[in-house]
Subunit: 181 residues, 2 copies
């Protein structure tokens, strides 16, 4: 049930992530998904609500993917290695579930919405917090700054890989630095 609704969300997510939210109009989502405009507005009361739904879908996909990547870690060093190797695969488009790499959808979207109090900006922030909690759950040592260091380098790796286009060796450097702590 609600097949049209899901089709709209997945089409919107794909186009938003690929091109940026403000560069994609409602009409293009409708044309590509083949859904009628009336149907869209019966499911989502505005474009921003659809953006939120796309963010939610991306969040669930990303969390599930990350949890899987970190499922069998037996030490903090393994967490670091598997996390950044997984990110490296993402940067190199070897993770089809995450789509063609174009940076972090939440960072990109937050950059387009300047009002920090908006639902969209707040959701982007919450996503980062949940990813942090997931990584924290996997860590065992009580190293005071390890979690922060991992999260900061993760954000740095994603943006560096996207903006400079040279993501292949960024993650291996993160692993070396973090494992030296």
């Amino acid at each position: 049930m609600n097949k049209k609704r899901e089709l709209l969300i997945s089409t919107a997510l794909e186009l938003f992530y690929e091109n940026g939210v403000n560069s994609i109009g409602i009409n293009e989502i409708l044309k590509i998904s083949g859904v009628a405009k009336r149907t869209l507005y019966s499911h989502f009361e505005s474009k921003n609500i659809l953006v939120l739904a796309a963010l939610r879908q991306r969040h669930e996909t990303f969390i599930a993917w990350l949890e899987e990547q970190l499922s069998d870690t037996k030490s903090d060093q393994e967490v670091i290695k598997q996390l950044f190797n997984a990110l490296g695969n993402w940067f190199d488009n070897k993770e089809p579930r995450l789509g063609n790499f174009r940076g972090c959808f939440f960072i990109n979207t937050a950059a387009e919405f300047s009002d920090k109090g908006s639902d969209i900006s707040r959701y982007c922030s919450e996503h980062k917090e949940e990813v942090r909690l997931l990584i924290q759950k996997k860590l065992t040592s009580d190293h005071p700054h390890l979690l922060d260091a991992i999260c900061i380098m993760k954000e740095g790796a994603i943006t560096t890989a996207y903006v400079t286009g040279r993501g292949s060796d960024v993650t291996s450097k993160c692993i070396k630095v973090l494992c030296a702590l």
Copy 2:
């Protein structure tokens, strides 16, 4: 001379950085700067050319600011401390030359322009490369990954500070981690 041209660039930069490039129309820049549309198009042949000019001005301001922050460093540890303390001041809006903190203008703009071959995307990438070269120039040790670690954590600190809004203690953690290398 060319006072109008400079006024247009600084107004555009301010509005673009504050709101995102795609959220600001030409007409708003004209209204706020008080310049006529004809004048704008006699100086810039399109909006994208104006965006490029704004990126260039931001680049020069940022490089000059950063060079000043790192002017009297006597060791790599001092480079790390002064760099991230300066970033922390920026995040806390204590650096008026850089304007109200809303993340990195180049990351934000790259997020809005999906075509990686465009002049705008390439300029954003080049800016990051030049900042990297500036930091490299200040470092003296031959630590194999120090430069990379600093640059990755710098990007991570900027995006973390912007997206999560909690930038105050991010930089101090960067300093601790990097000085432990």
